[in-house]
Symmetry: C2
Subunit: 165 residues, 2 copies
């Protein structure tokens, strides 16, 4: 199959995200890392994942700079996996994905997991798209324009989209 | 491979999301729908996707109730694809995914696409996770608890996670 990201430079970054989260287990490993899991044995025990698959996924998450493999302390032989800045910035994506999935699979009143604000102990509201003024935006309130990194092809597609509105 | 969602009921909804967005092209079709594309020919032309693949993906997106296939007007033979409520609620996920992907693939100053608030014409700020009080939450500010739909297995895993902190 023609890979979307090969075809259209506009879509390279979507391809990158799916390459990272789309593979079985990867997103669950990232979620565990957010929940504080660091050691290989902990990931293995909590996810019940085969060791060879976990090894491959952790390697790839490190190669993609989502996780960093570091000694547990200076000079130690044992290693642990911690989220990089790039990995930490996945949080809104991960929370939005879980909120949406739980709502539409389990239903609003039947969610298996609730995210809490640690300090207040209150549930975290649904992740929303806000305007710079803080208003919640619906799909019809959003449009796109070409950014500084748009190729000519991308620019033309965006112009065509906006023309057709 | 053992599918994650089969193994752990906590992860069924993540499995559902990845089933929808993980397959090549699906997320790009959803994004086109958000940008106003409705007709088969338009999707085909704008994405440059093979007709048989587009047919299969649209069918699955309808089966998963992301898109709805409706006559262009009452009694018409031609159909178009419109986002359902379930599909529209993917917006925060989609914007978070694009923001993150663009930032980490192209870099902050080299983004191919910029989302604008249609009314103000201003760029949409990064999607964030907020507390009920409106504060931006970082990973360490978030914890989880079992929801009403948690199975005993999920409940035990969440308790173990929280115990280890």
């Amino acid at each position: 199959m023609l890979k979307p990201e090969k075809h259209d430079p506009l879509n390279r970054s979507v391809g990158h995200v799916l390459d990272i989260i789309g593979e079985g287990w990867s997103i669950l490993i990232i979620r565990e890392a957010f929940l504080g899991t660091r050691r290989f044995e902990e990931f293995q025990g909590r996810l019940g994942i085969a060791r060879n698959i976990l090894t491959a996924r952790l390697k790839k998450l490190c190669a993609n700079e989502i996780l960093d493999r570091v000694p547990v302390k200076e000079g130690a032989k044992r290693h642990e996996y911690i989220l990089t800045t790039k990995g930490k910035e996945m949080m809104p994506l991960l929370v939005a994905l879980t909120h949406w999935g739980d709502k539409w699979v389990y239903g609003e009143n039947n969610k298996p997991v609730i995210f809490l604000d640690r300090e207040q102990g209150e549930p975290i509201p649904q992740v929303q798209v806000y305007s710079a003024q803080g208003e919640v935006l619906r799909p019809r309130d959003v449009m796109i324009k070409a950014g500084p990194g748009a190729t000519r092809e991308a620019r033309e597609r965006i112009e065509e989209l906006n023309k057709n509105e």
